[in-house]
């Protein structure tokens, strides 16, 4: 009883502090100094722990993919080949135009820093931490990809770690276009909405465009390559739905990258 009585003022003070922190962070859009402090404190710890735990995580994933592991590997290879095909198609058709537009010339404009995922975000957010930071040249709003396709974009970076917002996060929006027809649209993550799948949602901008299942999507690119560089394969259209009330078509897109088993990723650093 005495303990409870002594605790009550402390509880009230702590609650007020928490509310103040929430308010400050809300005002700063989720990038208040508290996050910087936390990254400085916990970043090195996570780096060490991530290095220690990586083999176990890999083992988990190996166990998780059961007897159909071979099929999955073949599928991944197929996806990779398809992505390469799309890339070549894009680069063939629009190389000159893209280079002129964005002052980039294919892959020569990029430098890729590799890093590995060491930690992942909580229940509702799709964010990961990678073990490379500003010391390696990483800055916020840079594209993150892996061998399969687009992964996400860097939202915050400390000296040794960086936080990546995955493309599946509900707050992430990627500008994409179809590799064949060049129709542009916006790709939004679905977050934790659907069980077991990391599907993305595509909404085309043009009302006359026709979308077919099986079409492949690449990033449209942003000015200066931030936050997304152009031409990175994203995914493949699964199903097309045209809702009665909406002007444009929407579609579900299956991403090329496997977001549940992210390991080594590359961060595209523009010169």
């Amino acid at each position: 009883m005495r303990d409870a009585r002594r605790t009550r003022p402390i509880l009230i003070i702590l609650l007020l502090v928490a509310v103040a922190l929430i308010t400050l962070d809300f005002r700063d859009g989720g990038s208040s100094p508290a996050h910087t402090l936390g990254a400085d404190v916990f970043g090195p710890v996570e780096r060490v722990a991530g290095d220690v735990a990586s083999p176990f995580i890999g083992f988990f994933h190996a166990v998780g993919s059961n007897d159909s592991a071979e099929i999955a590997a073949l599928q991944r290879q197929n996806d990779q080949l398809r992505a390469e095909l799309a890339q070549s198609q894009v680069s063939k058709a629009d190389e000159a135009q893209l280079g002129k537009l964005l002052r980039l010339s294919g892959k020569d404009g990029y430098r890729v820093v590799t890093a590995s995922v060491i930690a992942a975000g909580g229940d509702y957010a799709d964010t990961v931490t990678i073990n490379a930071g500003t010391r390696d040249g990483i800055a916020p709003n840079e594209t993150v990809l892996n061998g399969d396709g687009l992964v996400g974009t860097v939202t915050a970076a400390t000296a040794t770690t960086a936080t990546v917002q995955l493309a599946t996060d509900a707050a992430a929006t990627v500008g994409v276009r179809t590799a064949d027809t060049g129709q542009i649209g916006a790709l939004t993550g679905t977050g934790q909405t659907m069980a077991g799948s990391d599907d993305l949602q595509l909404r085309l901008f043009s009302s006359t465009a026709v979308l077919r299942p099986g079409e492949e999507l690449v990033t449209f690119g942003s000015v200066g390559g931030r936050p997304y560089v152009p031409g990175v394969p994203v995914g493949q259209v699964l199903t097309v739905t045209s809702q009665p009330g909406s002007l444009t078509q929407t579609a579900l897109v299956k991403p090329f990258a496997d977001f549940t088993g992210l390991g080594v990723v590359g961060v595209v650093i523009s010169r």
Binding site: A18, V19, L21, I22, G30, E46, D123, T163, G191, Q192
Partner: protein, 456 residues
Amino acid sequence: MTPVRKVIRVAAAPLFLVLAVVGQLVVINRAPLPGGGAPDLVLLVVTALAVTSGPMAGTLAGFAGGLALDIAPPGGHLAGEYALIFCLVGYACGRIMTAVEETTGERPAATALTVMAVGAAVGEAGKAALGRMVSDPSVTGQAIRHVLPGAVVYDVLLCAFVLWLVSAAVRRPAPERAPRPEFAQAYGVAAAFRLASAGAAPRLRLAGSTPPPVRPPARAEPKLRLSGVRSPALSRTHAASSLAQPALPGGRAVKLNFAGSGRGNPLDGASALPPGRSPGRGWLRGSRTAAAVAAPRRTSPGRGWLRAQPPRPAAATAPRRTSPGRGWLRAQPPRPAAVAAPRRTSPPKGWLRADRLMAASAPPRTSPGKGWLRPARTASAASSWRPKSPSRGWLRPARPAPAPRRASPRRGWLRPARPPKGNWYTRGPSGRWLRRGRRPWRSPRLLLSQLVGGRR
């Protein structure tokens, strides 16, 4: 407590929190778990610390752990969200556990687990609710429906493990306990007696229920009356005994031996007293004479239908016979006559007593409402042997507080069948509880204590 142990206790909580935060971010969130959600190690550690160490530790651990989870790199939500929720959950868990301990005097592991599981579930729900409140784009209704059940299930599954780990590290030394009373043998005897009389429950009646109809006495009542016959129970007894045994010529009262077989029953007239009619005096007491159960006493046939009483020397039994009305199923050690003798002059107690025998010498009954089912006890004579009585101690809750309540039949659970009418001069039941303090209903604790019984 060794110094190493002390260091472990002090450092355990921060260590557990840091380990939980890192493990959550590095391992749990990355592991491909089936189902929507993932367990929250930090929330589990916070609730476990609160349950084991109290509300203060729970509050501080909740704030620290939640804030660490908020600002550690991957983040994904506003700083302070989890600190707020975990702080509240830690305080609530510790407070509930403290309240349970204050009420029952112990902290059972099952209760701790339950509090912890409920706290973890509430914490998960609180995280989702606060995410909605700050309009986090990731926290949609669909996402909550997808994530929350899995997270709660994982938390509940991991509760026992985390609680075991944390309590093993921060456990305080167990408080000194009284040695176990040596009633093991007597306990077995009492259980056997209870089994034997299973079908013959004594006539206990809840207060307020209507008493069975009392048949009017068929014959003239004996001349000798009790001085204080006001209780219906007593008058019934009177009538019944007059049915059973006619008064001896000369108006002399019959010496009643109540546990005997010739006793009348108020309900079926002159039939024998069924074994279940228990006089209020320790009819199921199994105490020290466990070995003597098998020796029913035949030398005094009027007493004890199934008494477990060892044959005693006549010097010891002689005074006993003049104090009837004590258990028909008594297993009580022989006491010296000096102890038993003053009981004779004690005011009448119990249901079926030879009150007429003592009517001449007994003091007037100042408390007419003494129950027929009361543990008869005189303050002076009982105090010497009361601790030996098994009705206190090994068959009762650890806290002996409710015991004095039974002394007053007005407030007990087992009241006399019809409470005595109080008038202005005698002690009436009217408004008595109101006099126990100013505005007792204002304090829930006081009100509860008055509803349950006397103030401790």
